[in-house]
C-alpha cells in the first residue's frame, strides 16, 4: 500500500500559546457583565398606570411619591391600543416594591379647588406628581388604573366602609361629611347611580373608633340643607352644620325607641332616608294590595299618602288612579263605573312589631271587618295643602262577599268626610239662597227702627217717671202732704167712731137726739198723788 509513494506527511504540532492581547477584551467583558448584573440587580419595578388624561405627566420629570418621598419616575407616557386613555410607565424603586399591592391607589396631584377646599397649590411651581396610596391586601400588582381625583380615605385607613341606598331626595357629593349627632365621623367616598334600579348608592367610610357606633338598628338620613318643621309646638329650624348646608351630608343614629342592636363589622348596605322622621314613613313593609273604588274626587291624593284606621297609619296609597284592562274580570270602563280605582297597600308592620306582625291573621281580621262594615273614605290630611288620605272606619252596611276588581280585592268605600261636608255646606248654601233674605233684612231694619223709636220713647218716659218718683219720695212735699192727709183722715174716722157706735145703738138719735154719755174719767187715788 505504501510502495508507490513513500511520502512522509509532516507532523503538525499545534501552537498552544494564547496571545496576551486577549486579556484586555476578556477583562472588559467581565467588567461589562458585572455591570449588567449589577444594573439588573438594582433595577426597579416597572408598573403601568392608566389615566384618562396626561395632564401633569412628563416623561423623566414626573415623579411618584409616597408620603412626599420620591420612589419612582415616569418613563413613558403613551396611548392605549384603542387610544381611549393614556398609559404611564413608571419605575418604582425596588425597595418600595412592597407598596405595590393589588388595592394600591395612584392619582395625579395637581391644583384642585372644590367644596372641600383648595389643594395641590405647591405643584404650581414644582409641577404635578403621582401620589401612591398603598393598599392593604397581599400580593404584587404592576398594572393600575389611576384615580382622577384623590381618594377620600386612604385604602389602609382603619374604619368601616358601608354602602347607602337612596331612592332620591337631596343629592350628596363625594367628600360630604358623615356625622353622628353633629360630630363628623366619616365621609362619602364615592357615589353611583344604578340605572336599572333607579337608586343611588353611596359608599361611605366611618373612621375608627367611631365605626363602633354603627349597629344593626342604625338608620342613616340625608342631613343636607335646612329642615323646617311646623307643628303644634311651633316652627323648628334644624341645620346639621354649615358644611352640610353647602355640600350636603349624612347623619346616622339609632332611634330612641329601639335597642342598639349588633355591631356592624363588615360592609353592609343601609337605606338612606330623606329625614329621620321619614324612616317610619319610607320603611319597606310587607304588604297586601287592595283597591278602593272612590266616588269622590281624588285630587290631592298622591302616591305615598297614608292609609289610616282611626288615625293610626296602617298602609300607604300606591297609586291614586290605577288603570286596569277592562277585559279583566270585574273591570269596567269609566262610563259604566265612574268610581276611581285607588290602589293601596295594607302594611301590618306599621301597627305591630316586626316580631309580632302576622300578615295573614291581620289580613283575615281586616277582611272580616270589611264584611262587618269596615269601609274606606277619602278625607282631608292637611287643610292647608289640600292633601288627602284614605281613612278606614266602621259604619258602612255589612256585605256578604268582598268585591273583586281585576286581581285585586276591593275595600268597600263610602263618601268621605270632605265630600259629605262639602255636600252639607252646599245644601246649606242652597237653603240660604232660597231664604227671602232681602225681605227679611228689610223687615228687620224696620223692626230695628221701630224698636229704636220705642226705646227713645221709653227713655223719655223713664226720665219723666224718675221726675215723678222724685216728687213722691219721703222727703218730698207731696209725700208729706199725703201722709198728713192720711193721718187726718185716720183721726177723723177715729173721731166719728163714737157717732157711728151711737147710730148703731140708737138709730133714731139722729132725729130725736140722745142724752150724751160722759166719759168715765180716772179717779184720784185714795193715797193721794206725789208732789
Amino acid at each position: 500500500m505504501n510502495t508507490d509513494h513513500d511520502v512522509v506527511e509532516p507532523l503538525l504540532k499545534a501552537n498552544r500559546k494564547i496571545n496576551k492581547i486577549w486579556v484586555l477584551p476578556i477583562v472588559a467583558a467581565l467588567i461589562g457583565a458585572g455591570m449588567v448584573y449589577n444594573e439588573w440587580r438594582n433595577r426597579g419595578v416597572e408598573i403601568q398606570i392608566s389615566f384618562e388624561t396626561a395632564d401633569g405627566l412628563a416623561v423623566g420629570k414626573t415623579s411618584v411619591r409616597y408620603r412626599n418621598v420620591e420612589i419612582g419616575t415616569v418613563n413613558y407616557v403613551g396611548f392605549t391600543d384603542q387610544h381611549e386613555s393614556i398609559i404611564a410607565k413608571v419605575e418604582i424603586d425596588k425597595s418600595m416594591k412592597t407598596l405595590l399591592k393589588p388595592d394600591s391607589q395612584f392619582w395625579v396631584v395637581r391644583p384642585r379647588v372644590g367644596a372641600g377646599g383648595i389643594s395641590g397649590l405647591g405643584t404650581l411651581l414644582t409641577g404635578g406628581y403621582i401620589e401612591l396610596s398603598p393598599g392593604i391586601s397581599d400580593g404584587l400588582r404592576t398594572d393600575f388604573i389611576g384615580l382622577e381625583s384623590p381618594p377620600v380615605t386612604p385604602a389602609n385607613a382603619d374604619g368601616l366602609h358601608l354602602t347607602l341606598r337612596s331612592q332620591g331626595g337631596k343629592p350628596l357629593s363625594i367628600g360630604s361629611s358623615v356625622t353622628y349627632r353633629g360630630f363628623k365621623v366619616g365621609v362619602i367616598e364615592s357615589l353611583n347611580f344604578d340605572i336599572e334600579e333607579r337608586v343611588a348608592f353611596y359608599d361611605i367610610f366611618i373612621r375608627s373608633p367611631y365605626d363602633a357606633l354603627v349597629t344593626s338598628n342604625t338608620i342613616f338620613w340625608n342631613s343636607s340643607g335646612l329642615s323646617v318643621t311646623a307643628n303644634a309646638e311651633g316652627v323648628k329650624l334644624s341645620l346639621a352644620s354649615l358644611e352640610s348646608l353647602v355640600e350636603g351630608g349624612v347623619e346616622f343614629d339609632v332611634p330612641s325607641e329601639k335597642s342598639l342592636g349588633q355591631r356592624i363589622s363588615s360592609n353592609q348596605t343601609f337605606a338612606l332616608y330623606d329625614s329621620p322622621e321619614g324612616v317610619e314613613e319610607n320603611r319597606q313593609y310587607e304588604y297586601f294590595e287592595y283597591l278602593v273604588l272612590v266616588e269622590d274626587s281624588v285630587g290631592g291624593l298622591y302616591a305615598g299618602a297614608p292609609v289610616e284606621y282611626l288615625g293610626i297609619r296602617v298602609g300607604t296609597v300606591t297609586q291614586p288612579y290605577l288603570a286596569l284592562d277592562t277585559k279583566l274580570d270585574g273591570v269596567e270602563d269609566l262610563q259604566a263605573d265612574p268610581r276611581i280605582p285607588v290602589l293601596v297597600r295594607i302594611e301590618p308592620g306599621r301597627v305591630f312589631d316586626d316580631e309580632g306582625a302576622d300578615l295573614k291573621s291581620f289580613i283575615a281580621e281586616l277582611e272580616d271587618g270589611m264584611l262587618k262594615g269596615l269601609a274606606a273614605s277619602i278625607e282631608s290630611a292637611n287643610m292647608l295643602t289640600g292633601s288627602l288620605k284614605v281613612s278606614l272606619r266602621f259604619g258602612a252596611e255589612p256585605i256578604s262577599k268582598l268585591e273583586k276588581y281585576g286581581q285585586y280585592s276591593v275595600i268597600p268605600s263610602k263618601r268621605g268626610g270632605i265630600k259629605a261636608i262639602t255636600q252639607q255646606v252646599q245644601d246649606l248654601l242652597d237653603s240660604l239662597n232660597s231664604l227671602p233674605l232681602n225681605e227679611t233684612v228689610a223687615r228687620t231694619n224696620r223692626a230695628i227702627k221701630t224698636a229704636d223709636n220705642l226705646l227713645k220713647t221709653v227713655e223719655v218716659s223713664m226720665v219723666e217717671l224718675q221726675t215723678t218718683l222724685k216728687g213722691v219720695q219721703p222727703n218730698s212735699s207731696a209725700y208729706q202732704a199725703l201722709s198728713q192727709t192720711l193721718d187726718e183722715m185716720g183721726g177723723a174716722l177715729e173721731t166719728l167712731q163714737p157717732l157711728i157706735n151711737d147710730l148703731r145703738e140708737h138709730p133714731n138719735s139722729l132725729i130725736f137726739g140722745k142724752e150724751a154719755i160722759l166719759d168715765s174719767e180716772p179717779k184720784a187715788s185714795p193715797e193721794g198723788g206725789s208732789e
Binding site: D487, G490, G491, E494, T495, P498, I511, F512, G513, K514, E515, A516, I517, L518, D519, S520, E521, P522, K523, A524, S525, P526, E527, G528, G529, S530
Partner: protein, 189 residues
C-alpha cells in the same frame, strides 16, 4: 089729692124735728205732753256729745187718738171726749227729748246724728187706771258703736191726786221726766 096730703104730713114731721132742742154734749178736750217750762235749753250750743233719740214705738192699743183708761187687768176703755193733740209716739218723743236735754248738761239729744250713740224707746203701757194710778212701762235700748246693744225694761207708776184725764196727763208727763232722769244717769251725760 091723696098724695098731696101725704107730702104735707111728711114735711110737718121734718119741721117738728127742727123744733126739738139739742141734748147737752160735752166739749172734746185735747191734751199734749208739754212741759211747764217752755224756755230754751241752757248751753245747747256748747254741748260736745250728741245722742240720737230714735222714734218712739208705741203699742197699737194705746196708739190712738183718744185717751184710754185701764179698768181691769185685761180691759181698757176709750174716752170719747178726751183726745191727744197729736200722734202719741210723736208727743212722747218730743216730750222725752225735751226732758232729756233739760236733765243732761253734757249731751245734746237730737233726732239724727252720724256715728253717735242712739237710744230707742218702746212704750207698752201709758195710761191711767181706774184705781187712781198712772202707769208708764216699756223698755229702752242703747245702741253704741262697736258694742252690743243694751236693752233695759222700765216701769214707773204714780198716784193721781185728783180725778180726771187732766191730772192723768200731768202725772204721765211726770213719769216721762223720771225716765229721762234715769237715761241721763245711765248714759253718764
Amino acid at each position: 089729692m091723696k098724695y098731696r096730703n101725704f107730702i104735707l104730713l111728711s114735711l110737718c114731721c121734718l119741721l117738728s124735728a127742727c123744733a126739738s132742742t139739742a141734748k147737752t154734749v160735752p166739749h172734746t178736750k185735747t191734751y199734749v205732753l208739754d212741759s211747764d217750762q217752755l224756755s230754751p235749753y241752757s248751753n245747747a250750743n256748747s254741748r260736745e256729745i250728741a245722742i240720737q233719740l230714735n222714734s218712739v214705738r208705741v203699742a197699737n192699743y194705746i196708739d190712738r187718738k183718744a185717751l184710754i183708761t185701764r179698768i181691769s187687768t185685761q180691759q181698757v176703755t176709750v174716752a170719747r171726749y178726751h183726745v191727744w193733740g197729736e200722734k202719741l209716739p210723736a208727743l212722747i218723743h218730743r216730750a222725752l227729748k225735751d226732758e232729756l236735754n233739760r236733765s243732761g248738761s253734757n249731751a245734746l239729744f237730737v233726732d239724727r246724728c252720724q256715728s253717735c250713740v242712739s237710744v230707742s224707746v218702746t212704750v207698752d203701757h201709758f195710761y191711767p187706771t181706774d184705781k187712781g194710778k198712772v202707769v208708764f212701762a216699756g223698755s229702752y235700748t242703747i245702741h253704741q258703736n262697736n258694742k252690743a246693744n243694751t236693752t233695759v225694761p222700765f216701769l214707773y207708776e204714780d198716784n193721781l191726786a185728783e180725778d180726771g184725764y187732766q191730772e192723768s196727763v200731768y202725772r204721765l208727763r211726770g213719769l216721762l221726766i223720771r225716765l229721762a232722769s234715769n237715761l241721763v244717769t245711765i248714759l253718764e251725760v
